[in-house]
Each structure stands twice: as structure tokens, then as C-alpha cells.
């Protein structure tokens, strides 16, 4: 598990308050019963952690945690390259 993936998992588990969550690449926000407030809080926490901007429209392409982690990793890499 990459450092970004570890962080994403840690943030999500804390916000959705499910310490036993089975966080795998195929897990979806629906599986973890995340509501719109949970998702906003997750996005804000990740934006703050990595100083990135997550575009809400981009999330429509994201089906599961595998896609989500890959998206955040791309954003972090772009940020580090800037």
C-alpha cells in the first residue's frame, strides 16, 4: 500500500467512523455508507493534507477506492512536480 493510499484510508475511516472498514480497491463510497457530508469532509481533509484541489466533476469518473486513490496520487504527483 502506497503512502498516499495509507493516508486516504486513514482519513476515510476516521470520517465515516468505521474502524473495521474493509478498504480495498473495489470498495465504493456507497459500501462505506458515506453521505454527501462525509464525502465533502474527506475531500477537504485530502486537499489540506496534500495542498491539492480536487475537482468535484472529476469524481463522476471514479467508481471505487482504486480509482480514487489513483486520482489522488496523480494530483499529489502533479503538485510535487509544480
Amino acid at each position: 500500500m502506497s503512502a498516499v493510499e495509507e493516508k486516504v484510508k486513514e482519513i476515510i475511516i476516521k470520517i465515516v467512523r468505521k474502524p473495521e472498514l474493509d478498504f480495498t480497491p473495489t470498495t465504493t463510497f456507497k459500501d462505506m455508507e458515506a453521505d454527501s457530508l462525509d464525502i465533502v469532509q474527506i475531500l477537504v481533509a485530502l486537499e489540506d493534507t496534500y495542498d491539492i484541489e480536487i475537482i468535484d466533476e472529476d469524481l463522476q469518473e471514479i467508481a471505487n477506492m482504486g480509482d480514487f486513490v489513483a486520482y489522488i496520487e496523480r494530483k499529489v504527483a502533479a503538485r510535487q512536480a509544480a
Binding site: 454527501s36 457530508l37 462525509d38 469532509q41 475531500l43 477537504v44 486537499e47 484541489e53
Partner: protein, 256 residues
């Protein structure tokens, strides 16, 4: 240009009502600090519109629900401008659920952004208001009237309104005027969130005796008035701006 040379902070100032307020204060000559939550592109476009009016626009990203973000926002304002003359507490959020479905997380989120942030921002703003100042809070009819799934926001706005009155008295000796306004339904993205699936109920609130919905510009005009010295004898009031809908909410259009 009655606000020429003033420095104004508008929280949530990049979209909807906040954007209209930022533009109005800029049109009256104030430099504007636009606080925004997440969308840089929207904030940049608001800042560009403000700059076209010949004043400074300064963007600060901050979730006002977090006290440390409020502190860093005001530290940045102090560093950039050294003072503040106008503070418009506009940023708001909420969770659209009936009371029985609200949990502690949604309650805290809404109260922190809508009510606690007003206190914490006012405390910081006052320290920068060296020659007096104006504080305006933006509330809504939902503080007194019950609207579907509006519970968390309505309760937080009631706290905001009460705090407006307390601040008005406590800050008066410092030459600071504090007032608020309570708006009826305003055409905005936020409204869509609360009226989804309840079009019939929503339409009764959108048809006002005045014949149209309240616009962001209507709110901005009132804010500008409350920021001018000519309104200085109005203190701690929550001015209703709703086209008369709260006086005749059912079938108000047919009453005309």
C-alpha cells in the same frame, strides 16, 4: 463610491449571494477579501470581476468551520492590509435532513460553519477594526419559520441572529455597527439543494407579493447600506428581505 478606501471581508464571497455582495462592495469602492471554501476557479473568476471595478481583490481559501483556518485567514488579512473595516459573515453550509435524521456530525458541521465561525471571525475582525467598522451577518427566514429539511441550518441561523444582537451591544462602544439580514429564497445553487423533490412547496416560497424572487443583488444592496455610515443608528437588527413572502406565504401571488 461611499466605501472608497475601506477593506472588506466577505466569507463565502465567491459564489451566489456572497459573490453579489463582493461585487457590490467593490462597486462602492472597497477592496475585497474573498474567502472561499474549495473551488479555486470560481473564486478566481469572482476576483477578476471585482478587479475590473478598480479595487483590490484578495482570495483566501479557508473552511471557516475550522478555528485554525480562521486564525490563518485573519493573519493573512493583517499582513496584507493591516486593517479591516467591513466584515460580512456570509459563508454557510448545512445538511438537508429532517430533525429525526440529523446526527452529531451534521449538527456540528452546520453549527461550526454557520454560527461558531461568526463568533470567531468577529473576535478576530474587531482587532483589525482600528477606526470602528461594520459587521453584517446573513441569515435566512428558516431561523424563525420551519422549512422542509432545513432544521440544521435554521437552528444555526437562529444562533447567528442572537449573536448579532449581542455583538451589536458589546461592540457599539468601539464604533462598530453590527446588523444582520434575513433573506427569503434566493435563486442560487444552495436553494436547489433544499428544494430538490419538493418543487410544489418551494414554489410557494419563490412567488412573493413583490412579484419575483429575491436576487443576490437585492441582498448586496442592503449589505452595502448597512456598511455605510448613513445606517449607523440601526443596531443589532435582523432586517427581513423577502419580497413580503413571510407575511403571505400561501398563495401570495394571488393576494396581489
Amino acid at each position: 463610491m461611499s466605501l472608497k478606501g475601506k477593506v472588506a471581508l466577505v466569507t463565502g464571497g465567491s459564489r451566489g449571494i456572497g459573490r453579489a455582495i463582493s461585487l457590490k462592495l467593490a462597486a462602492e469602492g472597497a477592496d475585497v477579501v474573498i474567502n472561499y471554501f474549495r473551488r479555486r476557479d470560481t473564486a478566481e473568476s469572482a476576483a477578476q470581476e471585482v478587479r475590473k471595478l478598480g479595487v483590490i481583490a484578495h482570495l483566501i481559501k479557508a473552511n471557516v468551520g475550522e478555528p485554525e483556518k480562521i486564525n490563518s485567514m485573519f493573519a493573512e488579512i493583517e499582513e496584507k492590509f493591516g486593517r479591516l473595516d467591513i466584515f460580512v459573515n456570509n459563508a454557510a453550509s448545512g445538511v438537508a435532513r429532517p430533525a429525526m435524521e440529523l446526527d452529531d456530525q451534521s449538527w456540528d458541521w452546520t453549527m461550526d460553519i454557520n454560527a461558531r465561525a461568526f463568533l470567531l471571525c468577529a473576535q478576530r475582525a474587531v482587532r483589525l477594526m482600528k477606526d470602528g467598522g461594520k459587521i453584517v451577518s446573513i441569515s435566512s427566514l428558516g431561523s424563525r419559520l420551519t422549512l422542509p429539511v432545513y432544521t440544521s441550518v435554521g437552528v444555526s441561523k437562529a444562533a447567528l441572529e442572537s449573536l448579532t444582537r449581542y455583538l451589536a451591544v458589546e461592540l457599539a462602544p468601539m464604533g462598530i455597527c453590527v446588523n444582520g439580514l434575513s433573506a427569503g429564497a434566493v435563486e442560487s445553487e444552495a436553494l436547489k439543494m433544499y428544494t430538490q423533490g419538493q418543487e410544489a412547496a418551494a414554489s410557494s416560497w419563490q412567488t412573493t407579493p413583490a412579484g419575483r424572487m429575491v436576487r443576490g443583488e437585492d441582498i448586496a444592496n442592503l449589505v452595502a447600506f448597512l456598511c455605510r455610515d448613513e445606517s449607523e443608528m440601526i443596531r443589532g437588527q435582523i432586517i427581513v428581505i423577502d419580497g413580503g413572502v413571510s407575511l403571505a406565504p400561501i398563495g401570495s401571488a394571488t393576494n396581489r
